[in-house]
Symmetry: C2
Subunit: 461 residues, 2 copies
Amino acid sequence: ERAFSSSPRWQLHTKEMNEETLSSLKVNQSRLMEDIHFTSQWGEGQKWGSASTETGMSRLSLSDADKKARDWFVQATQALGCNTTIDEMGNIFAVRPGIRNDGPPTFVGSHLDTQPTGGRYDGILGVTAGVEMLRVLADNWVETEYPVGVVNWTNEEGARFPISMVSSGVWSGHIPLSTAHSLREVHPGTATLSSELSRIGYLGTVPASHNAVPMAAHFELHIEQGPLLESTSRKIGIVKGVQAYRWYTVTVTGQDCHTGTTDFENRADALLAAAKMILHSHRLATARGALASTGILNLKPGSTNTVPGSVRFSLDIRAPADSTVDMLEADVLADFARIAAGEEVDGISDGCTPGRPCEVSFTTDSVSPAVKFHPDCIHAVTEAAGSALGPEAEKLTMEMVSGAGHDSVYTSKRVPTSMIFVPCRDGISHNPREYTSPEDCALGAQVLLQAVLRYDRMRAE
Amino acid sequence: ERAFSSSPRWQLHTKEMNEETLSSLKVNQSRLMEDIHFTSQWGEGQKWGSASTETGMSRLSLSDADKKARDWFVQATQALGCNTTIDEMGNIFAVRPGIRNDGPPTFVGSHLDTQPTGGRYDGILGVTAGVEMLRVLADNWVETEYPVGVVNWTNEEGARFPISMVSSGVWSGHIPLSTAHSLREVHPGTATLSSELSRIGYLGTVPASHNAVPMAAHFELHIEQGPLLESTSRKIGIVKGVQAYRWYTVTVTGQDCHTGTTDFENRADALLAAAKMILHSHRLATARGALASTGILNLKPGSTNTVPGSVRFSLDIRAPADSTVDMLEADVLADFARIAAGEEVDGISDGCTPGRPCEVSFTTDSVSPAVKFHPDCIHAVTEAAGSALGPEAEKLTMEMVSGAGHDSVYTSKRVPTSMIFVPCRDGISHNPREYTSPEDCALGAQVLLQAVLRYDRMRAE
Ligand SMILES: NC(=O)NCCC(=O)O
Ligand SMILES: NC(=O)NCCC(=O)O
């Protein structure tokens, strides 16, 4: 079975392209930016500037807005000659046939879901750059040796359903389908991930598995989400791996009581204990050169004159080495228990009247060990950056480790994977003001295109 | 105009009763407890024991459940010969005529609203004991010199609409009607106090004012909500005043950012700053022998992997003297600003990596200065306790200052007022497990009845 069997003779075959021809294939910056801003109509978020494109995004996974962005992705890729497959996790795989179809596609992937108050680039750039790659291939009558694909992964953010990269995690076999399907929304509601997949019509029947939907490799273009590229005036990050992280839910139980009649001695104040824990987690992380963050906190009963008897908060800890995360986890478990019991921990209670003990419990919601990307993919990205940046390439690129998790973490456990970073203003992400210039978006997309073509050529050799 | 003009000759007139006759008028414990537990069907809360009465209450002001409790109050008091008046704040005044009606009624008052996870006694005991008083007067054909009344005040708790005692505050002229009417629910919703009054049919037309609905005096029976009576084996608290308190909303603004890619140095973490403030408010209060409490905390955007850019929390500070509250307020304003700016305050940031500054702002939501009750009312309560407790009275009573606010705070600014406390188990209140024994409920109601009759007799003399 051949793709484009009716296509003209002068089409380009990756295997036969010389360096000059290959490098002459160029993404179209305006078309890419148009895709980014056009699709941002679905789930448009907070306005932060005067231009119409100066708003953030609020496109939680499997929301109505996400459904519209998905529909666009399916239509756009089908119009470009792709076959689309939707799996049980709602992952959408769009595949453009190659000359030979006896090997799996080389994939580009990222995600169209966003944070509740996120920006226009996180994830979206990676998927739209994949679509732009398909357009460049179509415009130039390029035939790749093997198929190439673009995948939109479901709920990468973990912002609505609290496991990040959950659907690439199911695909790679590291997260059970049932765990993923039964995830509940973090904000009170009755929806589960699977009920929302059904509701918006994206509960596919193909197994969410690397066996059912195999890949040859996975490349992901993403904004850095941190300040390093910008502050060192680099244009492209060659990502060699991703730091480790874990997410927990911490529940502190004390006793509701009256704020006006209950002495400090007689209180089991769950919020005071939680405040001490949050503060202390920062101390512990600082001591280990790691990060600790709390992004969600809910309490009960929630009345000005009732001391809260119950507090639940998220804890996200990260470090480059798994061993550091292990040690930080042990610190947190031990010291939170001591804080709950009312013990003095590093002077944290100095000057407070000791109260009655609270109880604390933990659940581990997600574990993402440190990963290292594949040398072949890193090599393809390095070459691609050289092609895109020319003689300045060495000065304008840097090798780096990602602070954030990405679907490439899970794909890397099954197939050669690597990532490309582009700078974002002030290192700000997960914020409506997240911004990457059109030039940098296009440059990243250009490196992505070149990396995929080079990887395909390498496979052909 | 005479009440009970067809009533038989042997009816009792307070003015003419001797000590023995007066003391022989007794509340009916089972009937009182039946009213408490029967009305608790509306807004029944968390179950904590096996008996059917062992549940808490969740009867937020102006909810559907509160409407049902109000309807019961109107019907019960009308059936006992009272005229009922509903004012613009939904306060319900039930008045039983006296022999002479050229003076205002002596009132008993409290509230039927509860905390979201409150108990069966806070407020409810005071209103049902008032109804029980009316029953005793009716059963015994008692005619009081002046009218006596029972008032159910709206939104005493301040749990749904965030000013406590707001409706007695409007009645006394200390809170503008427009401020009260436009109060919004503390939990996200669009309802205001006045929209909810209309919705449940309790937006009266009579002005909410001590001029339109005058009182001669206000007596309030309440559970102590603290541990002092129980721990000293006393039965009755003779309340001489109420401590001062103030409520604030504190808003901390930082910047949303990614938890995995943003170093501590580059974060303006609004939740970390809020945690430091909450902890520090406890230190400041401890140093001043005062109380500080946070019962509500909301943050945005609320995602595990986004550092919160915005946190809003309630702060409730209390002390017996207004001057202490003044000083504590000044401490809090100064130190919260320093914490937001990232300055070192009493070692609170020791061991944390300093981040970027946040901003902090305050609104004062409610101010309740310390009050002293009226000697005439305190005297009536002391005499009443003597009548109820007999020779043991001195050992079984104590004079005390209330830690909690009550509607008596505002009535005391216009008319002689005092309160009666009864013990509650372990001092626990604003908790489903709040409990006062039937004997203690009845004893409190007995003292209330006797105090009102004595006060009426005093007025007649
Ligand atoms: N890139 C990104 O924001 N991923 C979400 C997973 C994480 O929290 O690192
Ligand atoms: N008694 C009572 O709980 N009143 C609410 C007002 C306060 O917070 O003190």
